[in-house]
């Protein structure tokens, strides 16, 4: 009996039934150069983050800008990892949305409600504690 549990996605076969790779050496070159570009980008962002973190002190007047740029840079890094390294960018649109939309909605809500609550708790400690 044919094992249908181990055949996990489509295999391309030629007329003789030989397996054809998902992409050939030529396409592989393009993919590898894309990986290299993304690697460089992630490295540059990380270096920039560390430089800013090490040289700009918390509490200075530009710190809020630095802080928010950390958040933006982190999201850029995350987007490249998910869309390129994890190939989510190449999946069907419907699948992308099924993965990303519920997560993003939930996390935004959680951040909003938790930080609002934390500020209120901190305030009441400050006032009545």
């Amino acid at each position: 009996m044919e094992r249908d549990d181990i055949i996990e996605y489509s295999l391309n076969h030629d007329a003789q039934g030989n397996v054809i790779p998902l992409h050939d050496e030529e396409a592989g070159k393009g993919i590898r150069s894309k990986i290299l570009k993304v690697t460089l980008l992630l490295t540059i962002i990380t270096v920039a983050e560390v430089g800013m973190g090490a040289f700009i002190k918390q509490g200075t007047s530009i710190w809020p800008i630095v802080k928010w740029s950390f958040v933006v840079m982190t999201l850029v890094k995350a987007a490249y990892i998910v869309l390129v390294f994890m190939h989510l960018g190449d999946e069907k649109k419907s699948m992308k949305y099924v993965i990303l939309v519920p997560y993003i909605l939930f996390i935004l809500y959680l951040i909003f409600i938790a930080l609002t609550e934390a500020l209120a708790v901190g305030h009441s400690w400050f006032t009545y504690g």
Partner: protein
């Protein structure tokens, strides 16, 4: 890259219901669902960290002050070590995606090569984290000090080396006049924590008393982290005043004035919860990395044995790759919210 998403799917690979949702395989979709749930766990942990930080009354530790050491090099390298760890993890993520790409070309040798590189990177990361934990637990040479006015401060500067202890009053093991040169730092910090130092005289484990010979500290600076009667958070005390106030605490003979390192009850870096979150979040992530390395090794054995080549595709490598990239993804967020901000 995952070009198969748009390919025609032959009848043998359709799911049980004769249809393949999203034109993707069952295994990959389930891996994605697992990763979403795992991401919710980490999201919850980081949000809880943010909650605690927002409602904390005391000053929260600053990453570049807390993590500024390098193995073999000592202090004064803010965030460099953790940047190195981040870079190691990014590189191992890249080698993983190269293994997946080699798999698409059915290039068995390429898959083996890149997976081995990934596993080595994973071990390096876990090892780095072990060093980081050990450093965090043992703490700095100065520790955190509670000053005479009740304020608390972290201490920066160069710690003058301990030279020896000269016994002035005999105990169970040491005779008067003995010169002790071993395990000085350990005994010294232990005595400081217990309040067993009075005016430069240390009381050792065996009850003997000894004079502490120590080189002078240099460039000492106290940074106030908790308000006291005369100092406010953010104040900096330098030079002789710093030395005087620090050694007043050391020589006070009171226990608990100085704290070294971290455990689950207290730590020298900041509020109690800070240490707990550090151990839990980086520990949970480190455990994920460790599991990832183990899974990668298992899949590598499968690749070497030719299991996936016979199958005609390397989807198992893709799936373990998804997990490995996810671990990298989590670290990107932990790095930002724990170390940078």
């Amino acid at each position: 890259m995952a070009g198969h998403a748009t390919q025609q799917i032959d009848a043998s690979t359709l799911w049980g219901g004769k249809i393949s949702p999203f034109s993707t395989s069952y295994g990959k979709l389930m891996m994605w669902f697992f990763l979403v749930s795992d991401a919710l766990t980490f999201g919850g942990l980081l949000v809880a960290y943010g909650f605690t930080r927002h409602d904390a009354q005391d000053a929260w530790p600053i990453g570049e002050e807390t993590f500024n050491s390098m193995p073999f090099l000592g202090h004064g390298y803010p965030l460099l070590y953790v940047a190195l760890m981040t870079f190691i993890l990014i590189v191992s993520s890249v080698t993983m995606v190269l293994a997946v790409e080699a798999g698409h070309r059915l290039d068995k040798k390429g898959v083996i090569k890149w997976m081995i590189a990934t596993i080595i990177g994973g071990f390096f990361f876990v090892g780095s984290q072990a060093w980081e934990w050990s450093h965090f637990i043992h703490g700095s040479e100065f520790g955190k000090v509670e000053l005479a006015d009740g304020s608390q401060a972290i201490v920066k500067g160069h710690f003058g080396e301990l030279e020896n202890f000269i016994v002035v009053e005999a105990g169970k093991h040491h005779k008067k006049g003995d010169v002790i040169t071993e395990d000085l730092m350990h005994d010294y910090q232990h005595a400081v924590e217990k309040g067993n130092i009075n005016d430069g005289i240390i009381t050792l484990h065996d009850g003997s008393k000894a004079k502490v010979n120590k080189k002078a500290d240099e460039h000492m600076m106290l940074i106030i982290k908790k308000d006291g009667k005369s100092h406010k958070v953010g104040d900096k005390i330098e030079g002789k005043a710093a030395c005087d106030q620090y050694y007043e605490a050391i020589n006070s003979g009171q226990s608990g004035r100085i704290i070294y390192g971290a455990n689950l009850k207290q730590n020298e870096y900041g509020p109690q919860q800070y240490g707990q979150f550090f151990f839990f979040i980086t520990g949970f992530h480190g455990f994920h990395v460790f599991s990832g390395v183990v899974i990668n090794i298992i899949i590598l054995l499968g690749v070497i044995a030719g299991t996936y080549h016979k199958r005609g595709h390397y989807e198992m490598v893709e799936k373990t790759g998804l997990y490995w990239h996810f671990v990298d993804l989590v670290w990107v967020f932990v790095f930002t919210f724990f170390y940078l901000i």
